[in-house]
Amino acid sequence: MSKALNSLVDRVRAAREAHTPLAIRGAGTKSFYGEAIRGATLDTRELSGISSYEPSELVLTARAGTPLADVEAALAERGQCLPFEPPRYPDPERPGQRGGTIGGVVAAGLAGPARAAVGNVRDFVLGATLLNGRAEVLSFGGQVMKNVAGYDVSRALAGSLGVLGLICEVSLKVLPVLPATATLRFDCGEAEAIERLQGWGGQPLPVHASAWWQGALVVRLSGAVAAVNSAASKMGGEVIDPYLAQRFWNGMRDQTDEFFAEARRSLADGAALWRIGLPAGAAPLPLSGEQLIEWGGAQRWWVTREPAERVRSLAARSGGHATLFRARDKAAVLGVGVSVFTPLAAPLARIHRELKQAFDPDGLFNPGRLYPEL
């Protein structure tokens, strides 16, 4: 264990001396995400294992390279879970395996269907150990629920795509699996779906996830048995068989559902998959293509051939942003000098550059993965 970290520290020192950029990699399940990967691979999987897990503390601490599957299995054994449902993509090296590493989950910051109800990856990060660009091992946050000592660096690592340094270990808040769940299906158009979701959200109903595609709105309720039962009868709709519902939500979470399968076929054909984040109640976007709406309206997936500029400007006009999630050739979709993530306003871009400089002065880690200039 210590040997693994020491060797990573040595690698970073050597890279610093040789001015060689490093590409941090766990299982490599999310290598499609963000900008192109540059640098020599720095594999985190030697840093493996759950360092501590105490169900009554609601905290699990694991080294970065621990497989997500191991973390979820340990939690499931004690009736707990990672509430933000991170997506599990296929492992490129191990056919049939999915899920990557816990370090990758935090670095990518991607969350699944329950995100709107429970929060993002960042909301569950309690602490982290970071190997920065000066080859220093630093700990921020901790293993307790409430902690305001210093800046909350550990939470800011969620979604940082490794540009601030290598996440060595993370402590996450975990929660009990909710006692009851039920899935309802409604036939309705896009605008009506958004309207209904908004209406339910304002009431004390245990709405836990939602998905709309091609005229069908599917809603998952989760919570106390009595609450789920009474909400289900109040909301109406068609009750989906629990086995099928489970499969459906797994498909949403892991992006293997029919929408995503079709998206992949269209990608081969030159279309692009966009992830658009919007205020949940935003009106339907006038784009052409196929759309899947999640998170009560706050996450809208689009498979489209429309120009990047139009996708971005429509998202911005609704108060949101658009990420080019997948494409056969991202550069071709975006055009020269256009980034995968929505460009930042000038003062924020400056702060990003300065932060990169503060954590990784020689620009060693994942250069350009989040934004070309970082």
């Binding site: 105490e54 700990s139 305001v148 000592a149 924020l348 932060l355």
Partner: protein, 520 residues
């Protein structure tokens, strides 16, 4: 590495005192003539930007700003600016940046760690006039408010829509949302509903250069690094926030509370762990020890069990069905853990009576002691009995009493050290006692501040919790936002020099990852 033993009271750090306040910086006495000259420079510059009524610099006008809720530390600001518009805030910041004048943003001044204590050579930027609720959107369940709006006022404005703002620090009647953002404030319901960070979607404000910035978004995420996570809880060190968009949640239809007595604090601590191990996340889970219970019972007459070594308050909220189910499950667990007395609130009046003692813990302490010092640290819940045993031992060593209230659900302790500042040496003993509680919390795997912030009060304790490299990294982070170090300088992150003066070794967390690595 082994932690050094805390020093005895005699050579404890005398970092502050009611009679001998020590400013954050500059520590040296400021030359009065130089100060006056600087003051007229700054007043002249700001007078061009603000109406006459929005600028205070005479002693009698600036004295009310000399401290926040941590009254032991006082400093008179050079100038107090009270802008009313965003343009004025931006202009004041630009002027301060140009003149290299420190800026200390201030809300209601209810903070408990001196985060808003003025800088002797700086401008206190009071945002009290930013008190408008800009929009309450029932459909989207969000409220957009100016930073000086009081926490409770948001819930009051949302109430007609059946919604409220969940984080409820005990000062919620007075504290502002801007201050909550600065401190990442908690409250008694944060185990279930989260901290300020979890309930804020977006903040708008200005950098020290006067550039408008927006962190977060009304969508559920924003592109780039999650700077909102850094700005929330940054104690005014990174940017000045003028507008906050918060999430609102539906008001629970019903809340009921169980009051349970235990014969030992260990048994009560075990019951807390067991409730959570059963998969229950109560809306509130609070503990009081016997001395605290006695003090509050004397004050509020709520009918607390004075024989109990510890009392737990366990609250459930939600629909009537949910509450019934949860109260039944919690009752079973608490009985199974040996509760000696159990009472479930029958109605709202009784529920509020159960809470009245907990909510009045501070004033009740004020009645039984001339002075008290409220500490704030977090430990892993399982170490509750350890810390209470350690505190009991400290009581005899420091010859001071300590009463304990505890956000048991999330491990956040508030020991109240009772002392009399008029007795020679008592304040210094109380401070040493407090420092030892914080160091013990770090050693048990916890943190020196759970929700009150570092401010000026806990600078020395930061030396204990973080290594020099970690503190340097945080200072570099601050510089990325505020290159000249003008926003609330001297707070939160102690310099290497200051830690060397404090002379305490860095005590690493109880479960140190990679303990074998050289850290110095």
């Amino acid at each position: 590495m082994n932690a050094p033993l805390p020093r005895a009271a005699a050579d404890a750090p005398v970092s502050a005192g009611v009679d001998r306040p020590l400013p954050a910086s500059p520590p040296a006495a400021v030359d009065a003539a130089a100060r006056r000259q600087r003051q007229s420079e700054v007043v002249a510059a700001l007078s061009k930007l603000l109406p006459r009524s929005a600028l205070l610099w005479q002693d009698e006008d600036t004295t009310p700003y000399e401290c926040d809720g941590l009254t032991a530390y006082r400093e008179r600001p050079l100038v107090v600016a009270l802008p009313e518009t965003d343009e004025q805030v931006a202009a004041v910041l630009r002027a301060c940046r140009r003149l290299a004048v420190p800026v200390v943003a201030r809300g209601a001044g209810t903070g408990l760690s001196g985060g808003a204590m003025p800088h002797a050579m700086g401008v206190t930027l009071s945002l009290a006039r930013f008190n408008r609720i800009l929009a309450v959107d029932r459909r989207a369940r969000i409220a957009r408010v100016q930073c000086g709006v009081r926490n409770l006022a948001i819930s009051e404005a949302a109430s007609p829509h059946g919604l409220y703002y969940a984080p409820d620090p005990s000062s919620q009647i007075a504290c502002t949302i801007g201050g909550n953002v600065a401190e990442n404030s908690g409250g008694v319901h944060c185990l279930k509903y989260g901290l300020t960070l979890h309930n804020v979607l977006r903040v708008r404000g200005y950098t020290i250069d006067g550039d408008a910035v927006e962190f977060g978004s009304e969508a559920l995420d924003a592109p780039g690094l999650d700077l909102l996570a850094l700005v929330v809880g940054s104690e005014g060190m990174l940017a000045v926030v003028t507008e906050v968009t918060v999430k609102l949640v539906p008001k629970p239809q019903l809340a009921r509370c169980i009051m349970a007595s235990f014969a030992s604090v260990q048994a009560a601590g075990e019951a807390v762990a067991q409730v959570i191990a059963e998969g229950i996340i109560p809306a509130g889970l609070e503990m009081m020890d016997r001395p605290m219970t006695a003090a509050v019972e004397d004050f509020v007459r709520a009918g607390y069990d004075l024989k109990a070594a510890a009392i737990l308050l366990c609250e459930s909220d939600g629909t009537p069905e949910e509450v019934d189910e949860e109260i039944r499950r919690m009752t079973e667990v608490l009985s199974g853990c040996g509760a000696t007395r159990l009472e479930v609130s029958r109605d709202e009046a009784q529920r509020l009576r159960f809470w009245s003692g907990r909510k009045n813990a501070f004033p009740a302490s004020g009645r039984i002691s001339p002075d008290y010092m409220c500490m704030d640290s977090t430990i892993p819940r399982k170490r509750l009995a350890d810390i209470l045993t350690a505190i009991a031992d400290m009581e005899s060593r420091y010859e001071l009493r300590c009463v304990n209230v505890f956000h048991a659900g999330d491990g956040n302790l508030h020991p109240l050290i009772l002392f009399d500042a008029n007795q020679p040496g008592e304040l210094a003993r109380a401070e040493a006692f407090g420092a030892e509680i914080l160091e013990t919390s770090v050693r048990l795997g916890g943190t020196v501040t759970g929700e009150h912030g570092v401010g000026i009060e806990k600078l020395a304790s930061m030396c204990v919790q973080f290594s020099p490299e970690e503190r340097e990294q945080m200072l570099a982070l601050k510089q990325a936002f505020d290159p000249a170090g003008l926003l609330n300088p001297g707070k939160v992150i102690p310099t290497l020099h200051r830690c060397a003066e404090y002379g305490r070794m860095h005590v690493k967390k109880g479960l140190l990852p990679f303990a074998e690595l050289p850290r110095f």
